[in-house]
Amino acid sequence: MLDKNGIAKRIAKEVKDGYYVNLGIGIPTLVANYVREDIEVEFQSENGVLGMGPFPFEGREDADVINAGKQTITTLPGASFFDSAMSFSMIRGQHVDLTILGAMEVSENGDIANWKIPGRMVKGMGGAMDLVASAENIIVAMMHTNKKGESKLLKQCSLPLTGVGCVKKIVTNLAVIEVTELGFVLQERAPGVSVSDIVNATDGNIIVNGSIPEMEL
């Protein structure tokens, strides 16, 4: 079973040379730490920066240079700043190659719910609806079950949707799952996790074809 860093580490292997990547808050943010150093990748943040670097050294922070999580950041050589309309032109226009974000629920047909729980204070969708409606390549990073132990991979989402039919791949603490026209298809097991562990923790139908390899991290 993986921890959050393990999930991030597995997802980092999906990041290919030459990719522009948008990382959501939470587990996705950790992905940047595990991307291979011998490939060229640029991180985009929807508030208006391309070419993000690491956090600044103490005392070097600039209130005018933040990411979408409102954290102070730095930029790398080749970086650029731009306005919000241009930022979403990059996203909507599919110039960003990979979007990694968290979710509360994902359904068999790739619907995602990650912005609202009825009855609770709603903070808003931010850029998530634009990202999931636009990106060709969306990976969800999440725990396989919620705090109550209920599956987050469902036949149908119960929560208000963020986007429909958009998720292509899910990486959880238990498994790597592809979302296909036939529904969830199990691809890889987390270390020490059995196929039946995964099937039991999955509420939606999950297709298991042949023997399922353990993830390489």
């Binding site: 929807e46 208006g48 922070e61 240079v65 950041i73 700043f81 903070k123 808003g124 609806m129 409606a133």
Partner: protein, 233 residues
């Protein structure tokens, strides 16, 4: 050169009244029109409809207007980190319309650019699209979203000149350029008002034609919402 310079924030906000719809630049607390917001608090105008990506925090940004209950409705994409906002929203005092961030940007740009509406894929199949026209183009579904109509727009730039030309800095740029010219009157406040002719015409982010009034802010706190640093080894 058409002169847009006003002497101070009082002159910049002339004509502001209760019940108006206002657009505010900024993302989180970055690039917000601090001086205009402070003056709106002073003026005690109320029943405002505010279009802004965020709603500030309890004691800064648009949170200051919320504390004084001057806002009737917020149109935003993300409104976390604000207890008073939450209280007013749950009690029904505050009307809140949440819209996708890219849709917010583009509804501003549509107003700026004379487009009545745009088709965006964002929100299709979600409650954001409820009651809205949807349409297929090339096998993909889109939602029709309308240009904003606002009375005042308040933006904040790094440098500007009396002609109204603006240059923004870093990610404090965000929605500000897209909001210039999106309201009947756009008020720009700048950290530094420089002499006309000193900005490179090639490097101006927003030409003065989109701006009706410009002034140099008295002071910018530029509060950091999430100070995140790394240690030197």
């Amino acid at each position: 050169m058409i002169n847009k310079k006003v002497d101070n924030v009082i002159d910049a906000l002339r004509g502001v009244t209760g019940g108006m719809t206002m657009i505010f630049g900024g993302f989180g607390l970055s690039g917000i029109p601090e001086n205009a917001i402070a003056k709106l608090v002073d003026l005690e105008v109320s029943e405002l409809t505010c279009i802004s990506n965020n709603a500030g925090v309890d004691d800064f940004g648009l949170g200051l207007l919320l504390q004084k209950k001057q806002i009737k409705k917020m149109i935003s994409s993300y409104v976390g980190e604000n207890d008073e906002f939450e209280r007013q929203m749950l009690s029904g005092e505050l009307d809140v319309e949440l819209i996708p961030q890219g849709t917010l940007a583009e509804r501003c740009r549509a107003a700026q650019s004379g487009f009545p509406a745009i088709y965006t894929p964002a929100g299709y199949g979600t409650e954001v699209a409820e009651g809205k026209e949807t349409r297929e183009f090339d096998g993909k579904m889109y939602v029709l979203e309308h240009a904003f109509k606002a009375d005042f727009g308040f933006v904040k730039a790094w440098k500007g000149d009396a002609a109204g030309n603006l240059i923004f800095k870093g990610t404090a740029r965000n929605f500000n350029p897209n909001m210039c010219g999106a309201a009947k009157i756009t008020v720009a406040e700048v950290e530094e008002l420089v002499p006309v002719g000193s900005l490179d015409p090639n490097q101006i982010h927003i030409p003065g034609i989109f701006i009706q009034r410009i002034f140099q802010g008295d002071f910018y706190e530029k509060r950091i919402e999430q100070l995140t640093v790394r240690q030197k080894n």
